[in-house]
Amino acid sequence: MKIIEGTADNFEAEVLDAKVPVLVDFNATWCPPCQALHPILEELADETDECKIVTVDVDAEEPLAGAYGVSSIPCLVFFRDGTEYDRRVGLQPKKRLMKILGVK
């Protein structure tokens, strides 16, 4: 699976209307733990097609990050059927992400 770059324009189509669980990673280039999280998300994306991963740059997409109340990053927001069902701030191991997403 390919990681998708999320923007205000494609958020509805890619995240809210998605047919599978979506992990949205709110991040920034200046945030060191976001850089540390990236390889974990890439590994997850390589291993499964049962979910989607969307990254949102909080600088480029300030209103979007604001709309979801993001003030500490990396912030991982999980969506199912267009609704947020879980949220984690900070680095997370791949196994936990898979558990939250319900993928094997």
Binding site: C34, S71, G90
Partner: protein, 289 residues
């Protein structure tokens, strides 16, 4: 059954894994989140010898790669208990090892004030969250090196930075304090405590023991760090909970060793954590012989 299980994947744990593998020991490293520990919160690392231009996550990934290339196994799990034998009980699984190295590090000390976990706008990491406060008003609470560095970092982003410290004197090194004093964006509020967090969902300000209240968009807490080890109660610890051990990294229980920031020590740096990792691995190897 592993020869050596290492709990914690920061510089201490990763270095221990490198040394254990080079000695041919079957090695498992257990990490709760992502390898790197506090290196993952560090932008530029400027004091690790020979690596003049490296970020914390880059250094972490390169240490991890070295450990894995040498054959160390890494499992992502949070250990909750160590039973004799040794059986390491994690949230996901259980692991058996003949020797254990604890390298769990520290976590930021909390304020212990109402609203701390609920309000947006409270952070323990300026390099992680500083970017949200472009042209905003923030405060750093604390007087040590970390607090002063955070205040300097934030002064490059925010419109105004308060540095609040309970004592009249800062504990940080003189040269950085001077830098801070000459910074036009920084105002120091010394000899006062944060007593109350204001705001409903988002922090709007704080009250101080001096009676003054300050309007803020963000508060960065830098009042020190605490050892991160819930399962260490059987080990000898000091008053603050750090595991007591000298340079040999040997704890009060034979077969359990300690490395890095969670050990009683004077200086907590990446390079001293790595040094501990080597010493602890060496001690564990001797114990297994």
């Amino acid at each position: 059954m592993y020869d050596i299980a290492i709990i914690g994947g920061g510089p201490a744990g990763l270095t221990a894994a490198i040394y254990a593998r080079r000695a041919g020991k079957k090695t498992l490293l257990l990490e709760a989140t992502a390898c790197g520990g506090q290196m993952n919160n560090t932008g530029k690392v400027s004091n690790y010898p020979a690596l003049e231009d490296i970020t914390g996550p880059q250094l972490a990934q390169s240490m991890q790669k070295q450990a894995e290339d040498l054959g160390a196994e890494i499992a992502y799990d949070r250990i909750v208990r160590i039973e004799p034998g040794f059986k390491l009980v994690g949230e996901e699984d259980e692991y058996l090892a003949k020797a254990v190295i604890i390298a769990t590090g520290t976590e930021p000390r909390k304020l212990g004030l109402d609203g701390e976990d609920r309000l947006a706008g409270i952070s323990y990491c300026a390099t992680c969250d500083g970017g949200f406060y472009k042209d905003k008003v923030v405060a750093v609470y604390g007087g040590g090196n970390s607090a002063v560095h955070e205040a300097l970092y934030l002064s490059g982003v925010a419109q105004k930075v308060y540095l609040i410290h309970r004592r009249e004197e800062l504990r940080a090194a003189g040269d950085v304090v001077e830098k801070l004093r000459s910074n036009q964006k920084v105002e120091m509020l010394l000899g006062t405590n944060v007593t109350k967090l204001l705001g409903d969902k988002k922090l709007t300000g704080i009250e101080l023991s001096s009676g003054k209240s300050v309007e803020l968009d963000g508060l960065f807490v830098a009042i020190g760090r605490e050892p991160k080890c819930d399962f260490c109660s059987d080990l000898a610890t000091d008053g603050e909970g750090f595991i007591v051990a000298d340079e040999s990294c040997t704890t009060s229980i034979p077969g359990i060793f300690v490395a890095g920031d969670v050990r009683t020590k004077e200086l907590r740096q990446i390079v001293t954590a790595s040094a501990d990792g080597a010493a602890a691995a060496e001690a564990a190897i001797k114990y297994l012989a």
